[in-house]
Amino acid sequence: MSDYTLRYVGDQALLVEFENEISMEVNQKVRALRFDLERKRIPGLGELVPTYRALLVHYDPLTADLDQIKEDIRQSADQMDLSQLPNAIVTEIPVLYEGEYALDLEDIAKLENTTPEEIVRIHSGSDYYVYMLGFAPGHSYTARFEAPFSFKRRETPRVRIPGGSIVVQLGLSNVIPFDQPCGWNIIGTTPILACDYRKEDPFLLRAGQWIRHIPIDKAEFLEIKRQVELGEYQCRTYERGM
């Protein structure tokens, strides 16, 4: 059983909030509620948008029975059993940690008082959890549960960094889908597109999954980039327990 707060969000959505913290445990409740509501196939239920600690539940007031949806949420929360969650997916993201593709790698190594090789080993050595997506299409909010680095943002944000940049601070690491301003340090670059509108399913990542960064060299980067442009590249994925 999970305690939650139910709030109205305008006249076409409800917000189900769990504990007010960013943690794996709380986010798993969001994930569990989402699976359960999706499974129930509730008439008039719209999109479910998971975030760190809350699930936004869209509904169509013309076809949905609001009281029934509230009751379905209550039942799901009452009967919530996190051990019953399906296995999570891990997506392997190839990363070139080198030269102009890793603009801040040398600085990061200095900040952490170690070598670039050690930084790459640390960054690619553990899985990162995708809490949610937002900000831009395909943009993930991703973290691991020990902070492998102690540095934070750059003093002066960059006005524009390219899509494909892998940026880091503390325990966080994000794949940047499109060019954008950014104050985080660039540790590497992936040839993969986090959002590719040419595809039927344009989005590489989903809330509640994991990422593993795989170091590649320049030749592999160029070959994968070529395949991505042709729409032929598939990232390797596999399941893991929580």
């Binding site: 709030r7 109205y8 969000v9 305008g10 006249d11 076409q12 959505a13 917000l15 909030e17 007010n20 913290e21 960013i22 719209g46 999109e47 479910l48 948008v49 998971p50 975030t51 760190y52 600690r53 809350a54 699930l55 936004l56 869209h58 007031p61 013309l62 609001l66 949610m132 997506l133 937002g134 900000f135 831009a136 299409p137 395909g138 943009h139 909010y141 959002c195 509108y197 344009p202 989005f203 989903r206 809330a207």
Partner: protein, 341 residues
């Protein structure tokens, strides 16, 4: 073939009802800023309510047709003309290849809609033809129309029997009341903060686009500050950051946000927000969710009834007197019909 954009105006985009189901991936739905005017325009030309149409902002476009079709204009009155003659709004109008439709500056409201029988020939992206300007995707090449852009018609119907008319709604004057449902973070504000929000007028600032409408007015007081752990967003959400100034999040808003949201505009009043301009004043009034649902059902019914009425066979030859009139060298059959309503 369809029309060529001779002048794009300030901001003219292809929209349909929006791209739904991708907020979980960070994509806002886009779609029209005034759903009532948008749906009405489509119904007038015999389209499904959500068909692709043009949304013009502040200063409308000039379009040269290269194919016959039936069109309808709704929303803001931009003084539309067809070949230099006033073009009526809220009714279907037949256009011929070579005709020039020109819209000017908005006299009332902010956004006008131009619907074309059969819709526009732009490729759907993820099930929608709506332009998401921020994401550079959908509509016409993911961007606003530019001079010279040629947009095709998908299934033009130049023989749509006329007349087809709809009542012209009131976009409100320079001060309107917008109804809201409080929450989800109304408890982050002091009693005084809520009273300020609901009691005092707010002015639409210059910072007003398809993403959001930044308002200026008395500071809305938080209990602590305006930050929360980022959560999901809806169109119409009214976000108040620590500065205490409200922003109404609109069609191309972000999908998640880390600021407190004091309330959300009810669905039935969102069209009124879409017709505001810089300098307009807004007062907020809180209503219950039940009341908001009742108003939304009325909104839906109004449009469905219009659709049903327009779907009835229109009188092919209205009883009246027919005259032949020549204007600027072109001949028209004009019928004077006695109104019976």
């Amino acid at each position: 073939m369809g029309f060529v954009t001779e002048d794009p105006g300030v901001l003219t985009t292809v929209q349909d009802e929006g791209r739904y189901g991708y907020e979980q991936f960070g994509m806002s739905p886009a779609g029209p800023m005034d759903l009532r005017a948008f749906r009405t325009a489509n119904l007038l030309v015999g389209n499904p309510m959500g068909e692709s149409a043009l949304e013009a902002t502040i200063l409308g476009p000039a379009l040269r047709f290269d194919q016959d079709n039936t069109i309808a204009l709704t929303g803001a009155d931009m003084g539309p003309s067809l070949n230099g003659q006033p073009c009526p709004m809220y009714q279907a109008v037949a256009v011929k290849a070579g005709d020039l439709l020109r819209l000017g500056a908005a006299k009332t409201g902010c956004r006008a809609y131009i619907a074309f029988a059969g819709g526009l020939d732009v490729p759907p992206v993820m099930g929608s033809r709506a332009t998401a300007l921020q994401n550079k995707v959908g509509g016409f090449q993911g961007r606003r129309l530019a001079k010279g852009d040629a947009v095709g018609f998908r299934a033009p119907d130049p023989a749509l029997p006329l007349p087809r008319t709809a009542p012209i709604p009131d976009h409100g004057g320079n001060e309107v009341t917008i109804r809201v449902v409080l929450g989800p973070q109304d408890d982050a504000f002091t009693r005084e903060g809520i009273d300020t929000f609901l009691g005092r007028p707010y002015t639409v600032s210059k910072d007003f686009d398809r993403m959001g409408c930044r308002l200026e007015g008395p500071v809305i007081q938080h209990k602590t500050d305006g930050n929360i752990i980022s959560d999901g967003m809806v169109t119409g959400a009214i976000q108040v950051s620590t500065s205490g100034q409200p922003i109404i999040m609109l069609a191309e808003r972000q999908t998640v946000g880390g600021y407190t949201k004091i309330a959300a505009v009810i669905s039935a009043d969102l069209p009124l927000v879409g017709q505001r301009k810089t300098g307009d004043r807004i007062r907020f009034q809180a209503v219950s969710v039940e009341e908001a649902h009742r108003l939304w059902r009325a909104f839906d019914r109004e449009l469905k009834e219009l659709g049903a009425r327009l779907a009835q066979p229109q009188p092919a030859q209205p009883i009246g007197t027919t005259y032949k009139v020549t204007v600027n060298g072109r001949s028209y059959q004009v019928q004077v019909v006695k109104h019976t309503s």
